[in-house]
């Protein structure tokens, strides 16, 4: 895998002294889907906007496809498509003409067939002659995606694609992203929906206070999160863990009314069945059972808290 986007020591400070990005380093591999997770104001949009050329960096370098975004901006921007967070569209344009405008603006020759194809891919074909102002919020977001794809970019940035989008449309959007990935497009999306990152990303980056705290393969992250906990509430409190249960990794609550068993879901056996049998044999009576899984959210919240 080669890096298509490479960010080195990127820093962005505003006149007021606010540092939106503090020495960010990031390598985005060609063909991957990278999800950037982070709370509001973490610097996600600033990072994306700087790569796309909307914001001028204070220091550091960014290359896209080997070209520098400052000195070879024509080469880098031709490769990039951007779907902004805000729905920014000219209200009185038709869907078709606004998408055609984007293609021309990015220097591509007029190709109406290609635009029809993009509209069809986003289920916008029947809206082609509608004015943007008449469309629903979800449809407008699709138009933004169509505009970003109009010049057939190699790298697509989606800034909060699911903000204000209903569940159905979100699923549709994920399908579109999966198809784009299959066609070789590199996709970077920012989100604060953890489930979105879990559902579609190959790698997950966590960003807070202008810094990337962690960037890791999603599968590895998930493996770390394979740990699950089973909490057993007891009818009668137990003063200690019975010797017959010493072989299990058990933790007794201070009041003795519950035991917590940690196990690995990825392992060949969870050991739950034998544990429950042994519990009964040891004379402990169960009142209730519940399981809990550490999620990306737990890791995320933990990291962000640590950072603050």
């Amino acid at each position: 895998m080669t890096a298509i986007v490479s960010v080195k020591n990127l820093r962005k400070a505003y006149d007021g002294g606010f540092e939106a990005l503090k020495s960010v380093n990031l390598e985005i591999e060609e063909g991957e889907i990278l999800a950037l997770l982070g709370p509001n104001g973490a610097g996600k949009t600033t990072l994306i906007s700087t790569i796309c050329g909307i914001i001028t960096p204070t220091s550091g370098t960014i290359t896209v496809g080997g070209f520098d975004t400052q000195t070879d901006f024509r080469a880098t921007r031709s490769m990039i498509g951007l779907v902004p967070q805000e729905i920014s569209l000219e209200p009185f344009e038709t869907v078709f003409s606004t998408v055609r405008f984007s293609r021309g603006l990015f220097g591509k020759p007029r190709d109406d067939a290609k635009i029809e194809e993009i509209l069809a891919q986003l289920s916008l074909a029947d809206k082609r002659d509608n004015k943007v102002i008449t469309l629903s919020g979800g449809m407008k977001r699709r138009v933004l995606i169509a505009k970003a794809l109009a010049h057939e970019p190699r790298v697509l940035f989606l800034d909060e694609p699911s903000a204000g989008v209903d569940v159905e449309l979100r699923k549709d959007m994920w399908d579109v992203v999966a198809k784009l990935k299959a066609s070789g497009v590199t996709i970077i999306l920012t989100t604060h929906y953890i489930e979105e990152a879990e559902a579609i990303a190959d790698r997950v980056g966590i960003i807070a206070n202008g810094e990337i705290l962690l960037i890791q393969n999603k599968a590895e992250l998930m493996a770390q999160m394979g740990q699950k906990q089973l909490r057993i509430d007891l009818s009668v409190a137990t003063p200690d863990i019975p010797a017959a249960l010493a072989q299990y990794e058990l933790h007794r609550a201070p009041d003795g009314r519950s035991l917590t068993y940690t196990y690995d879901t990825k392992g060949p056996r969870t050991g739950i069945t034998t544990l429950l049998n042994d519990l009964q044999n040891a004379g402990l009576q169960m009142k209730d059972l519940q399981t809990q899984q550490s999620s990306l959210e737990d890791i995320f919240v933990g990291l962000v808290k640590e950072d603050q």
């Binding site: 921007r77 003409s97 591509k108």
Partner: protein, 253 residues
């Protein structure tokens, strides 16, 4: 050079012009026709000749300039302000286009619209008044230059403006008074000497005077000075735009 982008911006702006044809074309033509009826036919018939020209004909160049300057400025300022207002400016900033190409697209379209309106007003004038053009090529050249220079000014205003009120401010408070006081409806020789001197600080005087020269061969100030004034004004606007380009003033953080 991203010529496709320049063409796309230009065509996009011209499409907006066509969509809003009533507002873009009909209203300046209508208001100028009213000027002709009121000042040319009704009042003008009671006014003597000015500099050897009938009053109705005398005001034609001034009226064309009034419309062209206002239209060039408002069209260009609106053209670049609207993407800022709707937020679609992100696309211009993330596209592989240089600032010069953006300017060429927006200013080119605004200048074309203003030129179009100027020519239509001239045609309308032929309906009301018998008029001859002494230097037709110079007339066209001066008209085109004015269209371009005021579109450049409009572009700067559009970049500067933070809301619709500011967008209207300069055309309304600066350009209209300067044009009215710049000799659109009178020769500055008709003013008392003190005011004649003060008027010479109004840059629009040189534009209108030069333009009137192309029609009638006579002018308040010499054509050479007029040309110099237009060139200076265009250079000033270009210089300012160049500065915006380098600093990203009001557009790029």
């Amino acid at each position: 050079m991203n010529l496709n982008a320049v063409k796309t911006i230009y065509m996009h702006e011209m499409a907006r012009f066509r969509r809003t044809i009533m507002q873009s074309l009909v209203s300046p033509v209508l208001s100028t026709s009213l000027y002709f009826v009121v000042f040319g036919a009704a009042i003008g018939s009671r006014i003597d000749q000015v500099e050897g020209v009938g009053y109705g004909a005398f005001i034609v160049p001034g009226l064309i300039m009034l419309s062209v300057m206002t239209q060039a400025t408002t069209n260009a300022s609106f053209g670049i302000y609207f993407p800022k207002f709707t937020g679609t400016i992100y696309e211009l900033l993330s596209a592989p286009v240089s600032f010069l190409e953006i300017v060429a697209g927006y200013v080119g379209a605004a200048a074309t619209k203003a030129l179009f309106i100027g020519l239509i007003i001239l045609l309308t004038a032929f309906f009301f008044i018998d008029i001859q053009i002494a230097h037709p090529f110079a007339m066209i050249a001066l008209l085109v230059l004015t269209c371009i220079s005021f579109s450049l000014l409009g572009f700067i205003i559009g970049i500067w403006a933070g809301n619709f009120e500011q967008l209207q401010l300069i055309p309304l408070l600066v350009i209209t008074p300067l044009v009215f006081l710049g000799g659109s409806f009178y020769s500055i020789t008709m003013l008392p000497p003190v005011w004649q001197t003060i008027t010479l600080f109004n840059p629009v005087v040189y534009l209108i005077s030069g333009f009137r020269w192309s029609f009638f061969g006579t002018a308040d100030v010499s054509i050479g000075v007029s040309l110099l004034a237009i060139a200076l004004f265009t250079a000033l606007c270009l210089g300012f735009i160049g500065w915006i380009f380098r600093t990203g003033w009001r557009i790029r953080q």
